[in-house]
């Protein structure tokens, strides 16, 4: 029983083992569904030379953006890195290496990494700067480039509810990259809003089965909104 109890009770414990130079895969899209407390713990620990794989890099002062303040990230794979002045500055000064990666390719790199598939062919990026230097193959008259899978030393994930076995469900569009990230970490840490009793989550509704998850922690979240758009009602 204890062997399947993945709960930890402090963020220090949740990120135990992270070291400078490691690769971290993070879930989230913009500021939606980001593991904000796990990121804060990485900042607190002061580890540096991190390679980060994430769709975006947060904003100034929130999300992965906080790891830029002490220059903890040396390289990032992302599809879009706007909305962050400090990031732009570090990019222009060559203080951070940015590997821009098409969003679907990034999701598939994580998915493939977690599924033990070392590489895949995709039409995305063929004939563009993204395809340069990559192997090209033709299938049924169309050109595809070879993209390699990605894994991380750590995957940091934000879920909605989990049980102690590490089964996780996500809420609304806070799902995004989180399920793929969860499969692709040597150590996968999931922070959630609520840990429930085993059996409370409907088995057929689980998004991330516990087999992928090493540590679960319950936290509280700011959930900052990037672009609040409303209609009159």
């Amino acid at each position: 029983m204890a062997g399947f109890d993945k709960r930890v009770y402090s963020y220090e414990e949740a990120m135990a083992g992270i070291e400078s130079g490691m690769t971290v895969i993070a879930g989230g899209f913009g500021l939606c569904g980001i593991p904000e407390n796990l990121i804060a713990e990485i900042k607190r620990r002061g580890v540096t030379d991190l390679t980060v794989i994430s769709n975006n890099c947060g904003v100034d002062g929130f999300g992965l953006g906080v790891l830029l303040e002490d220059r903890q990230i040396c390289k990032i794979y992302a599809s879009y890195v706007g909305e962050n002045a400090l990031f732009e500055k570090q990019m222009l000064n060559d203080e951070i290496e940015v590997v821009l990666t098409p969003q679907g390719t990034l999701a598939e790199k994580m998915r493939a990494g977690g599924a033990g598939i070392p590489a895949f062919y995709t039409a995305t990026g063929y004939g563009t700067p993204i395809g340069e230097g990559k192997e090209v193959r033709e299938f049924n008259g169309r050109h595809y480039i070879l993209e390699e899978a990605m894994t991380g030393d750590f995957a940091i994930v934000k879920g909605w509810k989990a049980d102690r076995y590490g089964n996780v469900v996500y809420r609304h569009t806070a799902q995004n990259f989180n399920p793929m990230a969860a499969t692709a970490g040597k150590i996968t840490v999931v922070e959630v809003e609520e840990i429930v009793e085993p059996g409370e989550l409907e088995p057929s509704q689980i998004h991330t089965p516990g087999i992928y998850v090493d540590r679960i922690i319950q936290g509280s979240f700011e959930k900052r909104i990037e672009k609040r758009t409303v209609r009159e009602g």
């Binding site: 899209f29 913009g30 500021l31 939606c32 569904g33 769709n55 992302a78 599809s79 879009y80 890195v81 706007g82 732009e88 222009l92 821009l100 098409p102 969003q103 679907g104 390719t105 990034l106 999701a107 598939e108 994580m110 998915r111 995709t122 039409a123 995305t124 990026g125 063929y126 004939g127 563009t128 700067p129 993204i130 909605w160 809420r171 609304h172 569009t173 806070a174 799902q175 995004n176 990259f177 989180n178 399920p179 793929m180 998004h207 959930k223 900052r224 909104i225 990037e226 672009k227 609040r228 758009t229 409303v230 209609r231 009159e232 009602g233």
Partner: protein
């Protein structure tokens, strides 16, 4: 008169068909959602993992866990589905989206599109645009016909780094609606009051002008 942004959105909306799954890019494409013709049901796909995007929320409905690909707060309509980014791009790459509408800096007569990077300027990233243009069969590109300095954006060959090669077959500009076929732009419609001569002058790529080029019509606002 060149089309306004709203008129461009209206014109694109006429290409929507009942039962279409549609992905709308940022900018003018987003406005298309305001002009879905009466009696037609379309499902809007947002590539962060939402099929069936609804209206913006009221102040009371705002939910930080509910956003679109532009990172704006949105709602889900009845019958919506929410899923992961990998699932979302499986739909896009697998060719399951019926229509994609997106903006561009340049399009050329071979159907190449450049929309994400101007060398020497700050590069923010391609987001999902490369996946969208590679995956969709049916794409409408919305853009101004020429730059502020009068330089054509409909070219023989794109000059900027590409987003995708040979993937665009329809373009709506503020001056005209064109299709791309066999290495040429075909002029299909012109904006109200815009002459064929003006379009010819502002199109740098090979342009085929049929004998009759109808003028677009818009209901008075």
């Amino acid at each position: 008169m060149a089309l306004t942004r709203e008129q461009m959105a209206q014109r694109v909306a006429r290409e929507l068909q009942d039962g279409f799954y549609v992905n709308l890019g940022i900018g003018i494409p987003t406005l298309v959602a305001n002009y879905i013709p009466e009696g037609i049901d379309v499902m809007l796909q947002s590539e962060n993992g939402l099929l069936g995007m609804g209206r913006f929320p009221t102040e009371d409905e705002v939910d930080p866990d509910m956003i679109n690909a532009g990172k704006q707060t949105v709602t889900a309509r009845p019958g919506a589905a929410i899923f992961s980014s990998a699932e979302s791009f499986a739909m896009i790459r697998g060719g399951h989206v019926d229509l994609t509408v997106l903006g561009a800096f340049e399009v050329d007569q071979h159907g190449n599109i450049a929309s994400w990077m101007v060398p020497g300027k700050l590069i923010k990233g391609m987001g999902g645009a490369m996946d969208l243009v590679a995956g969709a069969e049916n794409i409408i590109c919305t853009m101004t016909h020429a730059s502020k300095h009068g330089e054509s954006k409909l070219l023989e060959q794109c000059t900027l780094p590409l987003t995708g090669a040979g993937c665009i077959n329809r373009v709506l500009t503020d001056l005209a609606y064109l299709e791309i076929e066999n290495g040429a732009f075909i002029l299909k419609e012109r904006a109200p009051g815009v002459s064929v001569e003006e379009i010819v002058e502002k199109t740098a790529g090979k342009l085929v002008v049929p004998e009759h080029v109808p003028e677009m019509t818009f209901d008075p606002a």
